[in-house]
Amino acid sequence: MAVIRDVMPAFDLLQPSSAADAQKLLQQHGEEAWVMAGGLDSFDWLKDRIKKPKVLVDLSGIDELKGIRTNGDGVEIGAMTTLTEIANHPVIKSQYGLLSQAVELVASPQIRNQGTLGGNVSQDARCWYYRDGWPCYRAGGNICYADTPVGRNREHAIFGANRCVAVHPSDAAPALIALDAKFVIQTPKGERTVDAEDYFLGPEIDITRLNILQSGDLLTAIRIPSTFSGAKFYFEKVRDRNVWDFALMNVASAMVVSGGNIDRIRIAVSAVAPKPMRLRAVEDAVRGKPADATTGTMAGNLAVQGAVPLQFNAYKIPLMRNLVKRAIGGVQEATWTS
């Protein structure tokens, strides 16, 4: 089991000053390179001496990856923009408040000052068996310690488990999916843009990664189109304590309501599956219906169809049902059921 030793293994520290240089370095060093954004995920791994990269590429000196740029068709957020800057940005707050709400609930103020949007969406799973260095599936082994009869799996997945049952820990991810964001990736073959929901990978595809980034790839920016600018947003994060904690579950929805009916909607939940989950069936079911408690109840019941709880996380089913219900019908109209 890993023990924090506070002394990181030796590695070559590379600090490029441009995205192009960073991408070339990542390409050059391949699997031996570790990408560090804010360092909040990285230093855990390194100080625990579980990850021992030969090369660490520190992105903090790349100014072009920082900042929020607005244009006629939305905003572009550099991958190295801090969560605090995003939470406080006037355009984000006024037009894309879903994202500012989501990132404002990440961890603590100190962490948000250091943590970046790119790092938040690209961080690794928080399953303690995995983080402690046990040889589980995600670490290249042949077992999931959490998915055993006595495994501690209260925080783990109720959907999409495929050998590994760890959930995606990002708070920003469901908000970005709901806002129909696009992720811009520099690859050895050039720039590639993917939909937010396609950025994340489930264990059925690759059990050792949570996203599609491969060796030599660099997430440079996240673009949010104006599709849902100024829409009705809902974000709720449920956690064991109100600061500095990962989500037990969160929900993000962006709705355009006209005449009381839902005209357009995107809704996503996180911490229920190995990747943030867009609820397409719910979106299809509620489109054209009133944004009220009745529709919310129907949506909540639909959302949990197919959930498979583990030994200690069955509570996530009513939790998800109610979060989705609140996201559609609003908090004041919702009542908790279990």
Partner: protein, 286 residues
């Protein structure tokens, strides 16, 4: 360079977790090398086949133009097994070499198909075919020695023609039987570790870490061995001199000429009316 990847279990023990994946490439290269060496040997060094032939006119008269070799059931089994084997190899190893897709479900389904087909084959071959026809006999061993001596220019009588299966077929069958049983037995146990839509109840505690690790290693070793074996099998299947045998696995019969050239009617009787002696196989169309 380790053949096995090891890890430290939560109890501090060093346990194997799987084979080193570079063995995939070792198997591929071994298969390719075998093909190249064999093809060069046949093209440059190998002498033409020469067999002892003393077929009586009565025997010759009894051989039909189309000699039944594989029944429809036997062919269906072979091709079903082939499809499932290819599915298993593709789903097992492509993800390991970088082609990512949702492979686990397809893998265990293909594994179940292979297991069912092998069980059927064992029953079919044991009770409805001549079980011993696929195992090497004394004549095979004697003739193998003769062929070896003749291939290196030594004096030796010509070997007899083959029974239903040449010795190489029999040896290949034995090797693939071992590797196939290894992947099946270990694979069935490994299904206790994944969700199988209710077919197996998950029980990751069925064995200890060391036993599970050895099971994964054996599964992997047999699996990469099958890569080379299947490559070689396909290679022989498309070699010109073996095409009549391959065609017989498609159409069920081989030509009279090929049969009389390579197979000994005394060792592989085709007459429907005469029951075979033990070890002397009839066509399984019988």
């Amino acid at each position: 360079m380790d053949f096995i990847t090891w890890a430290i279990s939560p109890w501090g023990r060093s346990v194997p977790i799987h084979i080193a994946w570079y063995l995939i490439w070792v198997a591929v290269i071994a298969g390719l090398l075998f093909m190249i060496v064999h093809a060069l040997y046949v093209a440059i060094f190998a002498a033409p086949k020469k067999f002892t032939k003393n077929d009586s006119p009565a025997v010759l008269a009894a051989v039909p133009e189309r000699v039944p070799r594989h029944s429809l059931v036997a062919r269906a089994f072979h091709w079903l097994m082939a499809i499932s084997m290819f599915a298993l190899l593709i789903t097992a190893f492509l993800p390991k070499v970088g082609v990512k897709f949702d492979w686990v479900t397809y893998h265990w389904i293909a594994g179940l198909v292979l297991t069912a087909s092998i069980i059927f084959h064992i029953i079919h071959a044991s009770f409805f075919l001549d079980f011993w026809s696929i195992w090497p006999d004394k004549i095979d061993l004697r003739d193998a020695k003769r062929r070896l001596l003749r291939s290196i220019g030594k004096e030796a009588p010509p070997p007899d023609r083959f029974a239903k299966y040449p010795l190489e077929n029999k040896l290949y069958h034995a090797v693939i039987l071992l590797s196939g049983l290894a992947v099946i037995v270990t694979g069935v146990f490994m299904m206790k570790r994944v969700n199988t839509a209710g077919i197996f109840t998950r029980n990751p505690y069925l064995f200890g870490d060391m036993t599970w690790g050895m099971m994964y290693v054996l599964h992997g070793l047999a699996g990469v061995g099958l890569i080379a074996l299947i490559m070689v099998h396909v290679y022989f299947g498309i070699r010109p001199e073996k095409l009549p045998i391959t065609k017989s696995m498609i159409f069920g019969y081989m030509s009279r000429d090929f049969y009389l050239e390579e197979h000994d009617p005394k060792r592989w009787a085709v007459e429907e009316s005469s029951p075979p002696q033990k070890g002397y196989a009839p066509s399984d169309a019988d």
